[in-house]
């Protein structure tokens, strides 16, 4: 069994409304040391695959077919082997 830990963020060129809103609120709360906030998604997918290489391929497939919209989002992931 594998667990993919997927971090998804809007591409850097795209305005991040939620990040900006959080920045504003933090500034209003007096956190002047905060420079930037970006808000994205974190996904954990647990699945079975025979080996790491095919697990990686599978996750890329899931991300491009459903989990991530690559027009606006970028992602990175880590694969952790877990007990079934």
């Amino acid at each position: 069994m594998w667990r993919a830990e997927i971090k998804v963020l809007l591409k850097p060129s795209i305005l991040d409304p939620q990040g900006q809103a959080a920045e504003k609120v933090l500034a209003a709360m007096g956190y002047t040391e905060v420079n930037q906030v970006r808000v994205g998604k974190y996904l954990e997918v647990t699945f079975s695959a025979p080996d790491r290489t095919s697990a990686e391929a599978k996750i890329r497939e899931l991300c491009s077919r459903l989990l991530v919209n690559t027009v606006i989002e970028g992602y990175t992931f880590e694969l952790v082997e877990v007990a079934p």
Partner: protein, 232 residues
Amino acid sequence: MKFGIIVFPGSSGDLDAYHLIKDVLDAPVEYIWHEASSVQGFDCLILPGGFSYGNYLRGGALASCSPIIPAVVDFARRGGLVLGIANGFQVLTEAGLLPGALYTNADGRFHCHFTTLRVENTDTPFTRNLGRNQLLSIPIAHGEGNYYVDPATLQQLEESGQIVFRYTDEKGQVTAEANPNGSVGNIAGVCNETRNVLGMMAHPERAGEAVFGSIDGLALFNSILKYWEGSK
């Protein structure tokens, strides 16, 4: 001609479109359950507004993986008319039938109110009854209507006339204040290259009776009907 309204799990705007086509336009219309594998017998497919799958993950994302979608893609490739309203627009971009993507409104909030749309292209089956630069009063109701395309695609959309509507002020000016969600270039609706697939965030089906504040949405549906008459 016959309209088909695709019903995804959790679809909430199917009723609105159905009501307009049946009760106001008195045209043939049926619901199509998302597990259907064929859209045979229909001439115009509507992917309704509202929500589907609670818009979980991203608006339109889960619906775009429904069993019916390959049939919709095939229908569109063969020139069938497809109209995506709000959530339907999101489904169409997620399914790759329209360029770009829709994401969280620039101010992070859901917006429900009337907007003014300027008609940018009348050479589509959906807008042929309208005048160029005509202004339409049509409401929006969405939280993820912020349209994005990369600059290169944007230029291509401009050049090939795929931008069908823009948000403007009441005088028809494209202004930042008139942009309800942060969409690039105030884009409110786009079509595919062959112009038989249209996506828009505003709800023409909610602007079909004077008692609801506007009948400007009717022109869209009348265009479709007229187009169909002509193409028979």
